[in-house]
Chain length 540, copies 2
């Protein structure tokens, strides 16, 4: 067979040549901007030429601090197709973490959203490797104390739209991203052309989200983290229409775009899905959502109550994928296989509440504390190990966590059970599991049960140190109206063994979240250990 490399320029070629008329729609402050994949392709070439003139060479890292916009999307192709490495920086990390990752990745050029400039000025001493800063947006760049700064459109205006992309080795780096830092400092992962192309193909398969030309996808999940779950590449591959929520979007913006662009599939973090629901339930504004049929939620487990609500209130099918930065991210996906066609709705919701089956070319296994393989019987819980052409073999220049890759498998740090059919149900993160008197308690199960209570908006459960039991569960909850702790305890009592019931309820306005919108349990554990709990044992 020909040794044609798997490379991202082939995907761009498709978008331009076969689907040149299809559109990309981006929310702007003053409305929406639409253009076609044909125009997109020309602008990608211009950006490549401009970066080349700024001195970007094969293998150089180009950092982005951007929202989900057309310009950011252009960088998704321009940077890897020229042989450089797209380092998407999670725009919601702390300034200190951002400084760390820019320095650690050695970014030579940064493409940044204008409101990030003051933050970059703060961490200026960590940008020693950065030769130029390019500012997204339409106008000339704002004045800043940072080194050479260029306006994105100025740069593109002077550039060539006819350049040819080189062939690259499929194993060469195309992108990189750091983990969310939910459990510690962010760790870098490098994606290759090969892994990115294979992952994009997988997203287009029947049985995964199945990206198709006829659909319009709204990408809410950030392009600044794990390539927006690879969706930008899959959409180009299929010529699917794309809707991007633009700069600093709020939940109502997502709903407005769904209506405006007639979005059919929305991809978002679980917590963002919950915010969209709150916006809808508030009745502040009315939206026409009849085009929307699928909501892909991920990053943490969507509570079954959410899955049910979207189906019943809007006829929207909720699915989820399980994955992580180290895995590009997708490892499993929930599909209802044909044997479940006749399940009743609640049975279907329960299945959709699992993390689904492994994707093609993904192998998973379940192991106990000693690394011994456990059976797929729906009972044994263990850490999940995975391997696949799109799973990292190591962290980027990092000596931490080498154990995570021992024996040719990635040790995901997630604990789950797998049933006979290969459906995975996550129990918890290894680090979040609560060990009480020698028995495990799943924080995730408690959270999902609590969020099934009609008045509970958000719930996180973490371990507090305990002199007798070693650890005991504490629940941090945000409610719509005052609820007594005892009521919540009663609500849980019927569902769990007695020793699972939280010792305390801490009521808050909002559960603190990490940069990508997950419940920040590391912070919560610290607060609980330090005794900083805003209010306990009664509603505020």
């Amino acid at each position: 067979m020909m040794d044609r490399p798997l490379q991202l320029k082939t995907l761009l070629w498709r978008a331009e040549r076969l689907f040149g008329h299809k559109q990309i729609i981006t929310r702007r402050d003053d409305g929406y901007r639409r253009y076609t994949y044909a125009e997109f392709g020309k602008r990608v070439r211009r950006l490549t030429d401009a970066l080349n003139r700024l001195g970007v060479r094969t293998g150089d890292r180009v950092g982005t601090l951007g929202w989900n916009t057309d310009q950011h999307y252009e960088a998704y192709f321009a940077v890897p197709c020229m042989g450089a490495v797209l380092h998407t920086i999670n725009i919601r990390l702390s300034p200190d973490q951002i400084g760390y990752v820019i320095e650690h990745a050695g970014d030579s050029v940064l493409l940044v959203s204008p409101e990030q400039l003051p933050m970059l000025e703060q961490i200026r001493d960590r940008l020693t490797n950065v030769k130029a800063v390019v500012v997204f947006g339409d106008g000339p760049p704002p004045t800043t104390a940072l080194g050479p700064v260029y306006g994105y459109e100025e740069l593109l205006a002077d550039a060539d739209e006819e350049i040819e992309f080189p062939d690259v080795d499929e194993d060469s780096p195309a992108g990189m991203c750091y983990t969310s830092g939910t459990t510690g400092e962010p760790k870098g992962v490098v994606y290759s052309h090969r892994s990115t192309v294979l992952h994009a193909l997988i997203l287009c398969l029947q049985g995964s989200i199945g990206v198709a030309e006829r659909e319009t996808y709204l990408l809410v999940t950030p392009m600044s983290h794990v390539n927006s779950w690879g969706m930008p590449y899959a959409c180009a591959l299929q010529g699917a229409s794309l809707a991007l929520p633009g700069t600093q979007p709020r939940p109502h913006h997502y709903l407005e775009i769904i209506e405006h662009a007639r979005v059919s599939v929305c991809v978002a973090a679980v917590t963002v899905g919950m915010l969209m629901r709150q916006e809808l339930e508030s009745g502040r504004q009315s939206y026409v959502l009849d085009s929307l049929h699928t909501l892909w939620l991920g990053g943490q487990a969507p509570p079954i109550g959410e899955i049910r609500w979207w189906q019943q209130a809007h006829g929207v099918h909720v699915c989820q994928g399980w994955g992580m930065t180290e895995a590009s991210p997708l490892l499993t996906f929930t599909t209802l296989t044909s044997q479940f066609t006749d399940l009743d709705d609640e049975g279907k919701f329960r299945l959709l509440g699992t993390q689904g089956k492994p994707m093609p070319l993904v192998e998973i296994k379940l192991v106990d504390d000693h690394g011994k393989e456990l059976p797929w019987d729906g009972k044994h819980a263990g850490e999940i190990l995975a391997r696949s052409p799109w799973v990292a073999r190591a962290y980027y220049h990092d000596t931490r966590s080498q154990d995570s890759f021992a024996g040719g498998w990635f040790h995901t740090g997630d604990v789950g059970v797998i049933d006979q059919n290969g459906y995975l149900s996550l129990v918890d993160r290894v680090k979040d599991l609560i060990k009480s008197g020698g028995e495990w308690i799943s924080s995730v199960d408690l959270e999902n049960a609590l969020m099934g209570h009609p008045e509970v908006r958000e719930a996180a459960v973490v371990a507090a140190p305990d002199p007798v039991w070693l650890e005991r569960p504490i629940a941090i909850v945000a409610t719509n109206s005052p609820v007594a702790s005892d009521d919540l305890t009663e609500f849980l009592r019927e569902k769990f063994p007695k020793f699972w019931l939280p010792d305390r309820f801490v009521f808050v306005d909002e559960v603190p979240k990490t940069g990508v919108g997950k419940f920040d349990k590391k912070l919560l554990r610290q607060q609980i250990a330090a005794g900083n709990n805003h209010s306990t044992d009664k509603t505020p």
Copy 2:
């Protein structure tokens, strides 16, 4: 990223572990045999162990002369997963061609259908490299003058079902197949694990045939040629149910299986689709076909009349792929993209009559006689060049046709036009185009128009040498009831320029076909040149 190789055993792992309960149904002389992917997996391991005991080693070629059966399907995994090479021999080639390919491939073991034994005895002197012959079927092997002969089930009974498959290099050979020999002697093509896995993924994408778990596929297209278009691998990957028509099937058998196994998608050569239609129209037997929604036809262009008939008579959507042995085989596929949603039926049939758009990771271009690239304007016709990770880089040990691979592109020998949207319409094979007085005439267009005549069952058009015009078209037609040549000429007159109208009509009972059921134009040209035309200028 991990350097996990793309290898076929990963597909088998999926079928066994995730879809172990799904079924494979094979037609037998005495009914149907059904078993699950879980049983299939065990039998695959047994076959691997048995072949290993027969001395098959990494890289050895194992030839098969088999129909579409469960046992043949077992070989599809057992042979490549052990690191050997599955050489599927087209069961419909002539004995001489079969001798040629067995010798040329150097097959060390043959797995053969029992009725092939007498033919093999005939060509015994060409089997010098063959160490053992294994006979498909249930019983002990028939007595034969051939060397050591084993019964398939006997061998499996003694073998181990627990063996582990080795990891293989993804570029190592997994299979091989020879071209149909439509235009000359068959040429060998070697498929790698990588190309076979990628091709299987492509078949599962939205926008191609989109193999899905919920469907039941009937594979009529032979497993003895180009891996039944890769469908056996794609079905295992998705855990789709599979129906196999078994030994020496007739058109009514296909329809019976569709009814029995509730087949939803049928994959067949164009001429077989036409035979199924004839069987249905004959009214000899009645069939319940309500489960069937899609018919994938290929190998030659399906006439629009066929596409229309299946839609109108049975609500069956006809699609087609264009490809070839050298390309595993799929290069393009017809899907109606969203811009055509509002087309009327005839418009849709016309689009479905094109060869569609290139698959992901397939690049095509159109060139003139001097290799200069031609525009995609729906007007310029040229030879189509293709490249992709699943296109051959050369023929196997063959010095012929090296030009076919010049410049890193495969020169397909097919002539087509491509429109602005990337839809390819084949005009003809380079070798079948008719050059009359310095102008090209498309044999395919004339054939499809003729087959649109209500009484014409089959039509092939070939060039006859002509002293004045160099070449002139001659039509060979099979009709349902007597038709006069003049009627056919009148029928064509409104559709084509005058110089396209065939000089003569030759009426036959059936157009001669090649081993894979294509019109045998090489033979027809020889017959015409030799003046062997059964009857001309009037119906028989």
